[in-house]
């Protein structure tokens, strides 16, 4: 029980008569990398909005970071981080100014923020960018920076909503190295993605379809269960709502268009990076 950072029982979210989330139940454990997959329109975004405290469920129990989503939304917000595909950093502010801003919003003391800035910039090897405007940075760098800012205040959980969209394979790999390192530190990572190869590197994944969770297990178990070689195959087998649905509803998978992600090495506290 102590190990659970997110616990959801019979979550239902309705918009009028449309049921976006239909009786979802699942748990996420501390330090896990939890992949949240599903076709567009399956109800992923709705669920994430509820988990991050942006909206309230119609019914069901939802506990995030030990707080109840109905009555303790403020505490939830203080203990989570969030990064979405559309950028979260202000382009007309510098790297340092952005970090100071978010650190302040999350209640961190100035001295602590400054310490973290230095650690961060050293780790990412861009000390010289400290006073550069975000608009001057290349995309991959911005994404890595946005992720670092999302976990600056050491939240219990960080929600990543399609964080690697539109980014080149090398940067994607470096990004996932950062995700691994974060999980090793004990921060739970809740990530949604359309890249099926990224799904392989999660500890467990869940697949949503039409408002319900149709699969929840480790990637290996799912592949065995559905007799598939890749998670992509599993996805295609079970995420198709019914045969009449046009292909486009599935949202597509990205492995056809991008080269396969070379799996980053995952080691306890180790850094395995080549540039």
């Amino acid at each position: 029980m102590d190990n659970t950072v997110i616990s959801v029982h019979n979550l239902v979210k309705k918009f009028g008569s449309f049921v976006a989330n239909d009786n979802l139940s699942f748990e996420v454990f501390k330090g896990e990398i939890f992949g949240f997959l599903g076709a567009n329109g399956a109800g992923k975004t709705t669920a994430i909005r509820i988990l991050s405290g942006l909206s309230k469920p119609t019914s069901g129990e939802v506990n995030v970071a030990g707080f109840d989503t109905y009555s303790q939304t403020e505490q939830i917000k203080r203990n989570i981080g969030y990064m979405c595909q559309k950028f979260s950093l202000y382009e007309d502010l510098t790297v340092k100014e952005n970090i100071m801003l978010y650190g302040g919003i999350y209640g961190m003391k100035k001295t602590l923020i400054k310490e973290r800035i230095h650690e961060l910039l050293e780790k990412l090897h861009f000390e010289e960018y400290e006073n550069r405007l975000i608009s001057d940075l290349p995309l991959g760098l911005r994404q890595k920076l946005a992720f670092s800012v999302a976990i600056l205040h050491e939240p219990k959980i960080v929600f990543l909503d399609e964080p690697t969209g539109g980014v080149d394979p090398i940067t994607r790999r470096q990004f996932w190295e950062m995700i691994y390192e974060t999980a090793t530190r004990g921060i739970t990572v809740f990530v949604t993605t359309h890249y099926m190869d990224e799904a392989e590197y999660c500890d467990r994944i869940s697949i949503m379809s039409d408002g319900k969770i149709v699969a929840l297990d480790t990637p290996d178990n799912l592949k065995k269960q559905y007799n598939a070689a890749t998670v992509e195959e599993v996805f295609i087998k079970i995420a198709r709502p019914n045969p009449a649905t046009p292909q486009s509803r599935l949202g597509g998978t990205n492995t056809q268009h991008h080269s396969k992600l070379i799996p980053p090495k995952r080691e306890q506290g180790g850094q395995n990076r080549d540039r």
Binding site: Y82, K86, S88, L89, I105
Partner: protein, 369 residues
């Protein structure tokens, strides 16, 4: 040729499917014809006139009657002493006061000349000029009729024209208050709506909402810089108009600044409201500029008095906040009135602000659901 035509066809589709281009192509010309045809009128209609008759004889009554029944004027009050002149102008309905000297009729018949004063409300220079000219024309006409064909030059009514509040009839008396009104609502509403929709467009709004910042803190945080800067703007404009034009503030500066703050607040909340109905910055800018700037310039009484427009424009301008503020600011700056004469307009602005806040909060809550 075929591919060229295909391209032309596409352009037509763009035009007809975008409400903005349709509006610009068809809406604006139609609106301009209506507005310039009717609202922007250089004629006067039912201009309020007050009579201060120190003589009360047959002749003054006849002349008064001729003026009132001309169709251009409407009698507002009969004044009994000089102090009433300032009061009647402050009320706003009267555009000119006509004063007949004592024994007007006797003097005219016996000595062949009598004096008549026309005191016009100089805070609206254009109207004042028109009213004065029309009145003079009617008086001339009367003189000719009265004198009869033979004695044309022997009888003269000597008019004395004075512009109350604005002795030299400077047009900046009209422009400075109007410019303040226009600038404040544009900057505040436009800028506020743009800054909020910008966050929506770039996705940073989601991140802010997920953070520990409360929505009210986000909104207030966005609004406060504009409040402060707009206030500074007002001070600068007032200082400039005093230094450059010599235009003083006749009434209480404190009251003026307080009313300005109310107006700024109202404009900011209007900006917030616009942002709740706009999906992106472009829409916000479009609504603010077309929906606010044009009506404000044309229909708020800034340049063209509302009294001279057909009734329908009067009703339309009732929903425009600038209409009320122009009255307030002109009254305080140029006529020197206190809150007694402008409490109705002030109350209207307060109610409008509350309504805007109410609607914005409701829409924001729905969005969060």
């Amino acid at each position: 040729m075929k591919r060229f035509l295909g391209f032309v066809k596409k352009e037509f589709m763009h035009i007809f499917r975008d409400y903005r281009t349709l509006f610009i192509l068809f809406g604006i010309p139609a609106a301009e014809i209506l507005i310039f045809g009717y609202a922007v009128s250089t004629d006067i209609k039912n201009a309020g006139i007050a009579i201060f008759d120190l003589s009360h004889d047959e002749i003054t009554l006849k002349l008064t009657d001729k003026i009132i029944s001309s169709g251009f004027f409407k009698k507002t009050e009969t004044l009994l002493n000089y102090n009433d002149i300032d009061k009647v102008f402050k009320k706003g309905k009267t555009k000119a006061v006509i004063i007949f000297q004592e024994d007007f009729g006797k003097k005219l018949v016996r000595e062949g000349k009598a004096s008549l004063s026309i005191i016009a409300d100089g805070s609206e220079p254009n109207t004042a000029t028109l009213v004065t000219n029309y009145t003079l024309a009617i008086v001339n006409d009367f003189t000719t009729d009265f004198a009869g064909p033979a004695l044309n030059n022997a009888i003269r009514i000597i008019p004395e024209v004075k512009m109350f509040y604005n002795p030299n009839l400077k047009s900046y008396y009209m422009f400075v208050p109007g410019v303040i009104t226009l600038i404040l609502i544009l900057i505040c509403a436009l800028m506020t709506s743009v800054t909020i929709t910008r966050e929506k467009e770039f996705g940073t709004m989601e991140v802010l909402l997920v953070s520990p910042l409360r929505p009210i803190q986000i909104i207030l945080g966005k609004v406060i810089p504009y409040f402060i800067l707009s206030f500074v703007n007002v001070l600068v404009i007032l200082a400039l108009s005093w230094l450059v034009f010599g235009l003083p503030v006749k009434g209480s500066i404190i009251l003026l600044l307080a009313e300005c703050m109310l107006y700024i607040l109202m404009s900011l909340t209007l900006g917030i409201l616009i942002s709740t109905v706009s999906q992106n910055m472009q829409q916000a800018i479009f609504i603010s500029l077309i929906g606010l700037m044009l009506p404000t310039i044309l229909l708020s009484g800034f340049i063209f008095p509302i009294e001279n427009m057909p009734k329908i424009y009067d009703y339309i301008s009732m929903v425009l906040p600038p209409r009320y503020f122009i009255t307030i600011i002109k009254n305080i700056m140029i006529k020197g009135t206190g809150i007694l004469y402008i409490w109705k307009e002030t109350l209207t602005l307060i109610v409008m602000t509350l309504v805007f806040i109410g609607i914005s909060v409701k829409k924001f809550k729905i969005r969060l659901e």
